[in-house]
């Protein structure tokens, strides 16, 4: 005998309602278990501060590319992101990196394209026509570093691609060649201007900048390239 026919004949709407209720209870139980295993009303608990592993440099880049990427390096190191990627994180989906990057983008108020554009335009204006407080070399290093960082945040957020970011950074960095010839001077100027900046532990910021000069750091070769092969 066909069981479907049998049930169909004796079918009672209450059976479906009962089953739906059972299913809802089961789903509720599953949801509660999942919620409990994630920590009740609390947060996510421990998560690694630095996802880069012991050796953060993985990509072979040419000297000009390393130079351009170096302008945002103090911020990149401060936020423990990837120095060798315009988008600051590994390619491909990676939940831990996405969470970390999402938090950085959100804190920098650049998730929204309009907000990001306003911040970039403001930094670009500051570079083009420095206010008195940013007119000296240290002020220029500070503004340029911030501009380069915003550009890379734009890549990370999907507002601009790596080629455009390279182009924007090159245009700004070229003007800095009149003031600096190596990362040592640039780093010193950046730190001189960063004193008292909100949101930074000055000791940690200096330590992060010092780390950029290490053998595996983006400023390990302190001299800037004499001739650029990119345009």
């Amino acid at each position: 005998m066909n069981p479907l026919r049998s049930i169909r004949e004796e079918f009672d709407t209450q059976a479906i309602i009962t089953l739906v209720v059972c299913l809802l209870i089961a789903l509720l139980g599953w949801w509660a278990t999942r919620r409990q295993s994630k920590g009740g009303t609390g947060g996510e608990g421990y998560s690694p501060a630095d996802l880069r592993g012991i050796d953060p440099r993985r990509t072979a880049l040419d000297a000009d590319e390393i130079w351009l990427l170096g302008f945002a390096a103090p911020y990149v190191e401060h936020h423990q992101l990837l120095h060798d990627r315009w988008g600051l994180a590994p390619d491909g989906p990676n939940p831990a990196w996405q969470r970390k990057l999402g938090a950085v983008l959100s804190a920098a108020h650049v998730v929204d394209r309009g907000s990001w554009s306003r911040l970039v335009d403001s930094a670009r204006s500051e570079l083009a026509e420095p206010s008195p407080s940013y007119n000296d070399a240290s002020g220029r290093a500070w503004v340029l570093t911030r501009y380069a960082w915003l550009v890379r945040l734009g890549v990370a957020a999907g507002h601009v691609d790596a080629d455009a970011a390279r182009h924007h950074t090159l245009a700004a960095a070229t003007s800095a060649r009149a003031l600096f010839t190596n990362w040592s001077d640039y780093g010193d100027a950046f730190l001189a201007s960063s004193a008292g900046s909100a949101g930074f532990d000055p000791v940690r910021l200096r330590a992060d900048v010092r780390t950029l000069y290490a053998a595996d750091g983006p400023w390990s070769d302190p001299g800037w390239p004499h001739d650029l092969n990119i345009s």
């Binding site: 609390g42 501060a49 780390t211």
Partner: protein
């Protein structure tokens, strides 16, 4: 006629009753699948969770010396302070360096974003001067005085902050009377050991910085048990999470505390709380200045230890 179409257009029964049996069987299969899946998940979680005996084995303190013939020396006092983490790292508590270096190198990089001597010095400096204790003590005090202080921001704060607010409100684990120095300074002791192991600190710098912890800890706590109670409660507060993850952490921490105070093998049973330790010469300050990490006295003094360090900075900075 297509049977599916026939189901919808044939005979005079309402559509609901005609498709009812199919819905019934689909829901039944789905319900069974959920039940089976839930049982598998529960069983898998049960396998992952260590037993009390496993915790006891995992948290047993490791010794370089023979406990039977051990004679405590001054350096053993700060090493005993760092012992909760030597248990976690499965390394001897009674020697300054770690025997296995991959663990500390990876731990410093991943958990602390420390890859260099300057970053290690900066992080130790931050823990000694401020750490989490200023922020935690402030929020506990604020919420104890005014439990509803955060209510108007309730929809804008993250889950961890909301969880901590709730624990303070109900005074869970007597959090309102916890002193948070242990949380920062025990972690600082662990960082110093790891930094020395990776050659980012000299032996003199490491020991001298460890000795710097003693006056503050002895002033704030009555003995090892008191230090342990405040450290593990502060750790629970920092973890900011209830449910199963915290139950696991609680079991593990209880095991650590038992091991630390074990009369037969626990470091805290072998090192007198009041053993004499040398006075620190604040070699950390010299290192911070030499590395160019401190170039002027601080504009923000959060704790008495920060004041002590800042005075040394002022005295020792070159003119």
């Amino acid at each position: 006629m297509n049977p599916g179409v026939a189901l919808l257009v044939a005979d005079d029964q309402p559509v609901g009753e005609r498709i009812g049996p199919y819905v019934f069987w689909s829901l039944l299969v789905l319900l069974l699948a959920v039940i089976v899946w839930a049982r598998v998940k529960i069983r898998r979680n049960a396998v992952k969770r260590p037993t009390t005996a496993q915790y006891a084995q995992q948290t047993r303190a490791i010794w370089e010396a023979d406990p039977a013939t051990f004679t405590p020396r001054p350096e053993h006092w700060p090493l005993a302070v760092a012992a909760p983490f030597s248990i976690e790292n499965r390394t001897s508590w009674d020697r300054l360096d770690f025997t296995e270096l991959d663990g500390p190198r990876q731990g410093l990089a991943e958990a602390w974003a420390i890859r260099s001597r300057p970053q290690l010095l900066a992080q130790v400096h931050a823990l000694l001067c401020d750490g989490h204790r200023t922020e935690f003590a402030h929020e506990v005090e604020q919420w104890t005085i005014d439990p509803s202080a955060m209510d108007e921001f309730a929809d804008r704060i993250d889950a961890e902050l909301r969880w901590r607010n709730h624990q303070v409100r109900i005074n869970a684990r007597d959090i309102q009377s916890v002193r948070f120095e242990a949380w920062d300074l025990v972690r600082a002791a662990m960082l110093v050991r790891a930094g020395y192991s990776l050659n980012w600190l000299s032996r003199a710098e490491a020991l001298d910085t460890l000795y710097l912890l003693a006056p503050t800890l002895r002033e704030r706590y009555d003995g090892w048990d008191d230090l342990g109670h405040h450290f593990f409660t502060a750790r629970w507060y920092w973890f900011s999470q209830g449910g199963l993850p915290m139950a696991d952490e609680d079991a593990y921490d209880a095991g650590r505390l038992r091991s630390l105070t074990d009369p037969e093998n626990g470091p805290w049973s072998f090192v007198p709380w009041d053993i004499q330790v040398p006075t620190s010469r604040l070699l950390l300050v010299d290192a911070l200045i030499a590395e160019g990490l401190v170039t002027e006295p601080s504009t923000f003094i959060a704790t008495p230890l920060a004041l002590q360090i800042d005075r040394a900075v002022t005295e020792r900075l070159p003119d």
